[in-house]
Amino acid sequence: MSRLRERLQALRRTGRKGFIPYLMAGDPDLETTARLIRALEAAGADVLELGVPFSDPIADGPILQRAAERALRRGTRLRDCLDIVADVRRHSEIPIVLFSYLNPLLQFGLERLAREMAVVGIDGVLTTDLVPEEAEEFRQVMRAQGIETIFLVAPTSTDERIAEIARSASGFIYVVSRTGVTGTREQLSETMRPTVERVRRHTDLPIAVGFGISRPEHVREIWHYADAAVVGSALVQEIERHAAEPDLVKRVARFARWLKSGATEIPN
C-alpha cells in the first residue's frame, strides 16, 4: 500500500483530518524547497504536493504564475523535482504527490517518469489539465508502478462526471472549492460544501479540498465536511514575501502551523 493511502487511512481511523501544503519546486531554489518540505512535515503536514513549474499555467492565478516563473528562471526541471524527493526521502516518509501540467510529463516520457517516481518515492500524481477521458494510458502507466492517480472535481462537474472521476481516481479526490484559478481568498466559496457532498455520494475515497484556502478558519470549515485541506497560494505568497530573509523556512513553517491550528492570529 502506498504511503499516501496508508496516511489517509490512518487519519480516518483515528478521526483526524489532513493538512496538505503545496510547494512549487525550485521556488525560491531547489535546496530551499527540500528544507521547506522537511519543515512543513515537522509543522504537521500530512501529505505534500510538489508543483512542477510550467511556462503556461492556465489554471493558476498570479501567485502561482509568478512562482513558476521564478522556478523556471532558476532552471528548475522535472528531473530536479525527482531529485529533491530522493533527497527528502533520506529522512522522511511524508507522502508526496507530484502536481503538474501535462506537457512536461509527456515530454519526459510517461513510462520513464512512472519508473523514476517509484524509485525516488513519489506516491501520486495530479495533472491539472488531464481529465479521465484523456487519461487511460496515463493511468495504466502510473498504476503499473504503484503511483496513485488523483483527479479533480469542480463545482461544474455533473453527477455523471463525478461518478466517472471516482472510478478513475485513486489515493484521494481533489475537490476544487470554486470555479476559477488558484489564489488566495478572504472567504470560502458557497459551492464547496455541496460539491463535497455530491462527491461523497459516489466514493469512499478520501476527499481533499483546495483553491482559495488561505486562513485557519477555512481549513477548519473544510475539515467539517472533507478529509483534508490543501493550501497552495497562501503558502507560496508567504515564500514570495520572505524569500530574501534568512529565516524564510522558519517563517513558512510557522505560517503552516497557524493555518493548521485554527488560531486567528499568526503566533510570533
Partner: protein, 404 residues
C-alpha cells in the same frame, strides 16, 4: 477521403491529435457547448440567420479575383486571390465570430470573451457583440497591443473592453492563457469565443465549420470562371482557420495540392520563428494535443513573427493530422520574404495584404514561377493590411524602393 467529414471523433480527436486537455471545471461547459453547437448545426433557422448576416452584413460571397499583373510578374501559374480581406472588419475572422456570437446568444450567455493576436479576431468579436448586444472583453498581449494599436482602438470604439496581458512574450499565447483563466472563473455567464482552429474540442471543429464556406465559395467561383478545380491552394497558418476554411472543401479532391505557410520569422533557432512543423513536436498547449514549439523539458517556447496573427507556439490539431497523412504540405517563409510580398502585391495589384496573408503570397512568389502557365493557383488573401501599415513603415527601407 470521406474520412475528412467524419472528423473529429466524438471526443474531438483527429487521429492522435486534438482532444480536451483542460481543467475539470471546463469539461462540463465544453460538453454543453458541443451539444448546443451540434443542435444549432442541425437547425435551419440558425443557418438562415447566419447566412443572412453573412450576405447582408459581412458582404459575402467574397470575390475570387484573377491577379493578372502579379501572374505576369511571376511568369507561371495563373494566380487567383480569394478576397477575404473584403469582408466587413477586414479579415475572414468575422465568419467565425458571427457564427459563435449567434451560438452564444442561443445558449443564453450575456458576456463574451476572446483572445486576439493581430487584433483581427478581437475586432471581429467586438463587432459581432455590438451587432448582437453582447458584453465583450478582449484579451491581448501588450506587445501585440503596441504593434497593432489601430485594432486596439477599433475594438474600443466598438464598445469592447481590451485587457492587456503582460506576461511571457506578451503575445497571443499569453492572451489565450488569460482568456482561459477568465472563462474558468466566470464560466456560468460567459461564452469563450475562440478565434482559430485551436484549443479543446469542440473549438477546432466549430471554427473550421464556420470558416469552411470560404472553400465552398471558392469551388463554385473557380468552376464558373475557369471551368475546373485549381491545381494548388495556398494559405498562411497561424492557428490555421483561414487555411482550413479554404482547404476543407477540397480535401476529398486528390488532384488539388494544398500548402500551408508558417511564419519563418527571423531565424531557425527556437524563439526566432513560429514554424511548428519545422521546429516543433507533439505536445499539449491550451487544451489540445498538437505540434508545439517547446524546449526539451516541455516548456512552451517563445515565438517570433512580424505577423502577430502567426506568432503562436501551437498549430490547430487538424493541421497536425493532415500533415502526418501527407494530405497538406507545410512550408515557412521569413519575415523579410513576407514584407517583400506585401510590397509586391501593393504595387502589382493595388492591394495591401495583412502581413499574415503576405506569408502565403511570399510562398506564391516561390512556387508560381515553377508552374505551367495553364495551371491555377489560389491563395487565400485572409485579411487586409491597414493594421500593419505602421509595422511596414518602420521597416520600409529596402534599396531601390521609394520612401513612402
Amino acid at each position: 477521403m470521406s474520412r475528412a467529414f467524419s472528423l473529429p471523433d466524438a471526443r474531438g480527436h483527429f487521429g492522435p491529435y486534438g482532444g480536451r486537455f483542460v481543467p475539470e471545471t471546463l469539461m462540463h461547459p465544453l460538453q454543453e457547448l458541443t451539444a448546443a453547437y451540434l443542435a444549432a448545426r442541425e437547425d435551419p433557422d440558425f443557418h438562415r440567420e447566419l447566412h443572412e448576416l453573412l450576405r447582408t452584413y459581412v458582404g459575402r460571397p467574397t470575390p475570387l479575383f484573377f491577379a493578372r499583373r502579379l501572374t505576369e510578374h511571376l511568369g507561371g501559374a495563373k494566380i487567383y486571390l480569394k478576397r477575404e480581406d473584403l469582408c466587413h472588419t477586414g479579415a475572414h475572422k468575422i465568419n467565425n465570430a458571427l457564427g459563435q456570437a449567434l451560438l452564444a446568444k442561443r445558449m443564453g450567455k450575456t458576456r463574451v470573451i476572446a483572445e486576439t493576436g493581430a487584433g483581427q479576431h478581437g475586432v471581429a468579436t467586438a463587432t459581432a457583440c455590438a451587432l448582437l448586444g453582447l458584453q465583450c472583453v478582449i484579451y491581448m498581449g501588450t506587445e501585440d497591443m503596441r504593434r497593432q494599436a489601430l485594432n486596439v482602438f477599433r475594438m474600443q470604439l466598438l464598445g469592447a473592453e481590451v485587457r492587456g496581458v503582460d506576461a511571457g512574450s506578451r503575445t497571443l499565447k499569453e492572451a489565450i492563457s488569460e482568456a482561459l483563466r477568465d472563462w474558468v472563473t466566470y464560466v456560468e455567464t460567459t461564452y469563450y469565443l475562440l478565434g482559430s482552429v485551436l484549443g479543446p474540442h469542440p473549438y477546432p471543429m466549430i471554427v473550421r465549420d464556420f470558416q469552411s464556406l470560404i472553400g465552398r465559395e471558392t469551388r463554385e467561383q473557380i468552376l464558373e470562371c475557369a471551368g475546373r478545380l485549381p491545381d494548388v491552394l495556398i494559405a498562411c497558418v497561424g492557428g490555421g482557420s483561414n487555411a482550413l476554411g479554404l482547404f476543407f472543401d477540397f480535401l476529398a479532391e486528390p488532384q488539388v495540392r494544398m500548402i500551408g505557410v508558417e511564419a519563418g520569422g527571423c531565424g531557425h533557432t527556437l524563439g526566432e520563428h513560429a514554424a511548428r512543423f519545422a521546429g516543433g513536436r507533439p505536445g499539449v498547449l491550451h487544451g489540445t494535443y498538437t505540434y508545439v514549439l517547446q524546449d526539451e523539458d516541455g516548456q512552451i517556447a517563445l515565438t517570433h513573427s512580424v505577423a502577430a496573427g502567426l506568432d503562436y507556439a501551437a498549430v490547430g490539431p487538424e493541421h497536425a493530422y493532415w500533415r502526418d497523412r501527407g494530405r497538406i504540405e507545410y512550408v515557412s517563409v521569413s519575415d523579410q520574404e513576407a514584407l517583400e510580398a506585401f510590397h509586391l502585391l501593393a504595387r502589382t495589384e493595388g492591394i495591401l495584404p495583412a502581413l499574415e496573408s503576405a506569408h502565403a503570397l511570399a510562398y506564391v512568389c516561390r512556387l508560381a514561377p515553377t508552374m505551367r502557365r495553364d495551371q491555377i493557383l489560389i491563395v487565400n488573401l485572409s485579411g487586409r493590411g491597414d493594421k500593419d501599415v505602421q509595422t511596414v513603415a518602420d521597416r520600409f527601407h529596402p534599396e531601390g524602393m521609394p520612401s513612402p
